[in-house]
């Protein structure tokens, strides 16, 4: 499935704005992204959020990703 990258995550992936990955849940997705792009490590610390069909998930490795879902990797966000 196509995983779109936003903001500064793109430069950690060598400048591309989307990558192709097969993953069943968020944990698998993040593990594979890190394997392919070790530079993502610096963002893992500050945190990455995953948007699945427009809904933003800040935690929860177990969240399943439907194969036809629209997936975005976003920086982790905070409110106040």
């Amino acid at each position: 499935m196509k995983v779109s990258l936003t903001g500064s995550l793109r430069s950690a992936a060598g400048g591309v704005d989307s990558i192709d990955i097969i993953a069943e849940d968020i944990r698998e997705l993040l593990t594979k992204v890190l394997e392919r792009f070790p530079r993502m490590e610096e963002h893992m610390d500050t945190g990455i959020a995953v948007s699945i069909n427009g809904e933003i998930y800040r935690d929860n490795w177990g969240e399943k990703i439907p194969q036809d879902a629209e997936v975005f990797l976003l920086p982790r966000l905070q409110g106040g």
Binding site: T6, E55, I56, L74, G79, G80
Partner: protein, 751 residues
């Protein structure tokens, strides 16, 4: 255990009614206990010594004379605070206590604990700090210029390729957007390009930070503290002090306002460190001056906005360049501003870039929908300029370009069902729009967007032997959560609201709960409460089955009681919650329900505001004549408290728009660190604030709840900017629009 979190579109019995809150009597009688209201036998007073310089190297600190003063039990400097986090939390630690450099006026350099206030003050005077004053910079644009003093020599701009070799005050560059900006602007009939500035503001909670810290020689400790997140405080303090999380019990006092400023630690780790060193309880209460100088205000900003549109009102391209001042430690507020800039609109070609910049100012923190209000000021002001240029009504212009379900958000993902369209339509049709405007009065409107979050949550529901229910939640109650959670529990169990008593549990009594921020309180704890109640219902059915000696499949829970169903058993009289609870000892012991969840799918939130402002052309003074907030709440569990959030956010936005700002002198010191000169709105400044709650259900919550706490601070800066500009006849581009600024703008326009 996985639960189905989808919206079920049910009718409600108690949810949505305006009940009295359970903590109301305590708060109107003065019994409620806030951060500074608890004392312990033998407690010491903790006070801080703070840098009077905006930027200085600390060459020496001599605490010997302070330590020898009779009555002083502990003195702490950074020498007592090694970094135990491997660098991960060094910024937090360094902000709590300066290490080799004082980075802003007010930065803590030492702390003492003594038997009373007088002795502590004397001790501070006996601490000798040798400073080597360094050049400072407090303005965001100045800090970006080559040659500006570098705040941190280990910060290199991230988000640029290749990685820079020289340190910079720009800690991060973030870009978002899609489409072809160049082509978009080429296709425009009208292009408006303008720059804006917003000054720094503080959340302004009336209760200063305060805590009572006790750490014993066995490494166990307690912290009573005013906070938005006692679990987060526990995690951070334990990490900084090398304590075990389970051994640090943090109890959240009632909180006297937070708005994001109490999501981070400021004095708490030091209070614990003092207590550990002295082996006595230490009470720390910040003064108002300290709160302004040394906690976490929001960013000041500078930005460039550009919008291109066709004559028919279609926006063809939109771009924002944002520069946000983060204080002395790297943060990602500009990134957040870049993400939210254009979120209200359906744009084919959009680009936003955010620069996060260091300055010699306090470490910034979240302020209610952090970063969004400033970007909205620039965007929504420019939207009005474009509408005027095209000759289109500003509301219609926004309606034409509003995002809707299926729109690609400017920050990336596609929207599900959202409320921007409905709030704009409601604004257009609101009676406020038809109210007559008097002399020197102008009307303005604006829309705003904010994310909502879910997060780690758990809830305990325990049923007493008389059938009344204790509900333990872990999200701090900032404005009515206990009432809302009680309503939800009562709704699920089918019992009267008065039969439920909610309280906020301490960290030893309930599992981790994320901070009350991101408008997540009602959404997350609400979800956990629903499932904890359903969990309890399963248990209640089992107990009823046991009492009747029938299979549990023949038991239903309806309207607060167990009913036996089916041909064989339906003649059995129903059992109420109280009936079953009375027999709990015989049927298996105490009856409870529990739920742990990472609540997600909180969705996003939109609002539209309308305001009328009168400007006195001779003094630049302003008067708020009329103000209306229209916002989507998904489902208003307790309408009074939803209205309260709308009105409170609007009031903060009004203060920010018209009067509040941090004023720094040439010496880099904060000039107005008190409520006299940092002037927040008072009762006589405001009219009644009209509210309209829209309910477009969130498909990812059983009750359709959306977060409401933050979005209402996003539109005011721009709504007021537009109103003032219309009233004064000149476009305002600098917030706050205080009388001197308005007067200056009028005079400049008149030549």
């Amino acid at each position: 255990m996985a639960h189905d979190t989808s919206f079920t579109n049910q009718d409600f019995k108690v949810v949505g009614t305006r009940v009295n809150r359970p903590d109301g009597v305590d708060k109107v009688t003065g019994r409620a206990k806030y951060g500074a209201d608890l004392s312990a036998p033998g407690q010491l007073v903790g006070l801080f010594l703070r840098s009077p310089h905006a930027h200085a190297r600390i060459t020496k600190i001599d605490t010997s004379r302070a330590e020898k003063l009779s009555g002083v039990k502990a003195v702490i400097t950074s020498a007592d605070l090694p970094d135990l986090t491997g660098g991960r939390q060094i910024d937090v630690l360094e902000n709590c206590m300066a290490r080799d450099r004082a980075l802003y006026d007010g930065h803590a350099v030492a702390a003492v604990a003594a038997i009373d206030q007088q002795t502590a003050k004397k001790a501070l005077k006996l601490i000798k700090v040798s400073y080597e004053i360094l050049p400072h910079v407090t303005d965001v644009d100045e800090a970006m210029k080559p040659g500006a003093p570098i705040i941190k020599d280990n910060v290199f701009t991230s988000g640029v390729d290749p990685k820079p070799k020289k340190p910079s005050n720009v800690s991060k560059v973030s870009e978002f957007g899609h489409g072809d900006i160049e082509a978009g602007f080429k296709a425009a009939d009208v292009i408006i390009e303008k720059s804006y500035k917003t000054e720094q503001t503080h959340q302004g909670y009336i209760e200063p930070h305060a805590c009572l810290a006790t750490v014993g020689p066995d490494g166990a400790g307690e912290l009573w503290v005013t906070t938005q997140g006692h679990y987060t405080y526990r995690t951070v303090c334990a990490a900084l002090l090398g304590m075990d999380i389970a051994k640090l019990k943090v109890t959240s006092s009632e909180i006297g306002g937070g708005f994001g400023g109490k999501t981070h630690v400021w004095v708490e780790p030091i209070a614990l460190a003092l207590s550990r060193k002295a082996n006595r309880p230490v009470k720390v209460v910040m003064t108002r001056d300290e709160v302004f100088r040394a906690t976490g205000p929001t960013c000041s900003t500078s930005m460039d906005i550009k919008i291109g549109a066709k004559k028919d009102g279609t926006i063809t391209a939109a771009s924002s360049v944002l520069r946000y001042q983060n204080g002395a430690f790297p943060a990602t507020w500009a990134m957040l501003g870049a993400m939210t800039s254009w979120a209200c609109y359906d744009l084919k070609n959009v680009h936003s870039i955010g620069y996060d910049v260091l300055c010699n100012r306090p470490k910034t923190a979240a302020y209610r929908a952090p970063s969004a209000p400033m970007a909205a000021f620039g965007v929504e002001s420019t939207m009005d300029l474009v509408a005027a240029e095209i000759g289109m009504n500003p509301v219609d212009f926004r309606i034409k370009n509003a995002a809707k379900e299926g729109t690609r958000a400017s920050y990336g993902p596609t929207y599900g069902p959202i409320g921007i369209g409905p709030t704009l339509e409601a604004a257009k049709n609101h009676p406020h729009m038809r109210a007559k405007l008097g002399k020197n009065q102008g009307r303005g409107m604006a829309c705003g967007f904010w994310f909502n979050f879910g997060g780690q949550t758990c809830t305990d529901l325990n049923i007493g032997s008389d059938g009344t229910v204790n509900l333990a939640i872990g999200t701090v109650d900032v404005g009515g959560a206990r009432a809302s959670m009680s309503l939800i529990a009562a709704e699920e169990l089918g019992i009267p609201y008065e039969q439920v008593k909610a309280h906020v549990a301490d960290t030893s009594s309930l599992g981790h709960n994320d901070t009350t921020e991101g408008s997540r309180g009602t959404f997350s704890s609400g979800m956990a409460t629903i499932f904890a109640a359903r969990d309890a219902i399963e248990e209640l059915r089992k107990r009823a089955a046991m009492m009747w000696d029938i299979p549990v499949e023949a038991v239903e829970w309806v309207e607060g009681e167990a009913r036996a169903v089916g041909n064989k058993h339906s003649n059995l009289p129903a059992l109420s919650l109280a009936d079953i609870a009375k027999r709990a000892a015989s049927t298996g012991g105490p009856i409870a329900g529990h739920n742990e969840v990472v609540a997600d799918g909180a969705g996003v939130s939109f609002a539209s505001h309308i305001c009328d402002i009168e400007v006195d052309p001779e003094t630049g003074g302003t008067k708020v004549i009329r103000y209306t907030v229209i916002q989507d709440a998904g489902k208003a569990i307790h309408p009074d408290y939803v209205e309260g959030q709308f009105q409170g956010g609007a009031a903060q936005g009004i203060g920010w728009a018209l009067n509040e700002e941090y004023i720094y002198g040439d010496d880099g010191r904060l000039q107005n660190s008190g409520f006299l000169d940092y002037r927040i709105p008072v009762c006589s400044d405001l009219p009644f604030i009209d509210t309209e709650i829209l309910e477009i259900p969130n498909p990812n919550h059983p009750y359709g709840i959306r977060g409401v706490g933050e979005t209402s601070i996003v539109p005011p800066l721009a709504a007021i900017g537009n109103a003032v500009s219309n009233a004064a006849g000149v476009r305002m581009d600098h917030v706050p629009m205080s009388p001197p600024r308005i007067l200056k703008a009028i005079e400049e326009a008149n030549g």
